[in-house]
């Protein structure tokens, strides 16, 4: 395993912001892995405070005679992805993808055999990759995520995600999603909420599979974006991804992304790191009933345990501020009965 633990979204974000202008298959319709909403809508949550807080909040904003009633169109809930809806350890899934892409693209780039940081990726040379530093990582991202049409990129992601497996759990990444959060998504939608993903990962990397996995359609996915341009060639049209960043959807970029793409202030926000702080703050510092929740990674046995000192998904300021701001902190160890969905039976 390459050691990329230093590669956090804020680091990537600051890297990407330095990058100046250089030179899809549709998601499937049938959401799978979604929890059933019969009887207990949150069966994978223990009967502890966080579950009660979610149920109480939804009840008070959906009961017509409640002083906190919120009309259906304003029931907007936003979810971070990495570490909130799916596992982000030991490295972000999107970086596992980027590294695999370097290997897959290598035959078309014979020069990579002798050129860092690609050489390091191809040889599994952790030391050389570390030495390539931030500049090297940006090169990897640009080489694997830009310079093609969005539809080409999305096809590549869709194919990769079908077969790639999490190194520890030996399951597709799309099964390393949190069953309790799938239940929250389904429960909120059953109560008239529109659910959005607001993630530091790139939009194009998420859209090919979020509808199938989370029931969140592409048009409800807000993420980091590259600049694009419209091209027409021989009667065919496409939107091409350019090697320059448009929006970095992390930290203060999350409220910006929400205002731009959604255009309403959410009433519920779910995150797991300091990168989500501003999203929870923006959601909860306005009039009316508001709800913020942090997933706290406390379970090294069933998943991972990390917070204040982690390079991936650092949760430090958020842990201090949550109690002051009335945000719920859900401990995976204490509050989740299950972490991942049951394994599907072999076909």
């Amino acid at each position: 395993m390459l050691r990329l633990s230093l590669l956090t979204w804020p680091v990537v974000a600051s890297l990407l912001s330095l990058v100046a202008l250089c030179p899809a298959p549709h998601a499937e319709a049938q959401p799978t892995l979604l929890a059933k909403v019969e009887g207990d809508p949150l069966p994978s949550w223990n009967d502890t405070a966080p579950k009660k807080a979610i149920l109480d909040f939804v009840e008070k904003v959906t009961k017509e005679d409640s002083p906190d009633f919120v009309p259906v169109p304003e029931r907007i809930a936003v979810f971070d992805n990495d570490g909130t809806l799916w596992c982000e350890q030991p490295i972000y899934t999107q970086f596992a993808f980027a590294l695999d892409r370097v290997k897959a693209l290598a035959p078309k780039h014979p020069e990579w055999k002798d050129k860092q940081p690609f050489k390091a990726v191809l040889e599994g040379d952790h030391k050389a990759l570390a030495e390539a530093g931030e500049k090297g990582l940006v090169e990897i991202l640009l080489a694997t995520h830009t310079g093609m049409t969005i539809e080409e990129f999305e096809t590549t992601v869709a194919e990769w995600i079908k077969t790639a497996q999490h190194p520890r759990f030996k399951r597709p990444y799309t099964e390393c999603v949190y069953q309790p959060m799938l239940e929250v998504l389904a429960y909120l939608r059953a109560n008239g909420f529109k659910t959005f993903i607001v993630s530091g990962g790139t939009t194009d990397f998420m859209r090919p599979w979020t509808e199938r996995v989370y029931g969140v359609p592409p048009e409800q996915v807000v993420g980091t974006t590259f600049k694009t341009k419209y091209v027409v060639e021989e009667g065919k049209s496409a939107v091409v991804i350019e090697p320059a960043v448009d929006l970095i959807d992390d930290k203060a970029g999350k409220p910006v992304g929400i205002a731009k793409f959604i255009g309403r202030r959410p009433i519920m926000a779910f995150g797991n790191s300091d990168g989500d702080f501003e999203m929870l703050e923006y959601t909860t510092t306005s009039k009316g009933a508001r709800f913020g929740l942090y997933v706290h990674h406390t379970d090294a046995e069933r998943e991972y345990a990390y917070d204040r000192k982690s390079h991936v998904g650092k949760l430090d300021k958020g842990l201090d501020e949550a109690p002051k701001r009335g945000w719920v902190v859900a401990s995976i160890k204490d509050d989740w009965k299950a972490v991942f969905p049951p394994k599907s039976s072999p076909k």
Copy 2:
């Protein structure tokens, strides 16, 4: 009436692109003015070819056993706003708003009495305003559309649009919408389509009223956007509009906006000008059943007649290309039984 006929979206777009960085009430839940979808779903359309083309297309993509069947999540339809969903003559409604805002803000800007182009607006001095030229118009836009929170701006729009009236039709602008197109919006939604607005006007100007008027919620409005930033002061958070353009959602900017905000290629597109050409092209140059329609303004008596030589809503290239590309051209005079919704009875 100030003569602003030269102010087309492309002109505004090119102006805005020159601007470098210098220094909401929620939409209502109940769509009004929406057509009933019982019996004939398009009662305000004459029984001519365009109506038949719309009905035939929707039938073939929604019938399960049709070779052109399209699953519900992929039924994306995009609509230009100015000149396609509501009247854009004699000047864009958004510019009528901008001029009214200059007048409303004048007491807070005593210097405007002696400063062009504001002086010209305040004095109704058409000649001086024309002399202020493009630079002057940009100054007006920035002074009236940026430098406040999105929620403040949206409140201003919502209040203005309640009372402002179209100069010729003497009705609120939100009643100078096209009844036949309201029927198309409702008909498509009844058939599982998700309807989006993709307009050269600014997103923040449309979102406060599109849900009430068109049944299109804020999160399905794609438009020209300004850059924004997140600010927190004394425990309150907001997203502030900065005086710099982010996306110019016109011409080739429309496919870019669609790919960015919607993330799926639409299967139906409705426009009325060359500014919509690339949107129709992007929609119709891909596999599967595709539909493009231009509203052709041919009715000087009931609305306006303009096309190839108009400064607002110029339709020239589109008229030539439509027949070659199989796009429908709907003539207001010949194909629309009614133009605007019936006047509501006085309260």
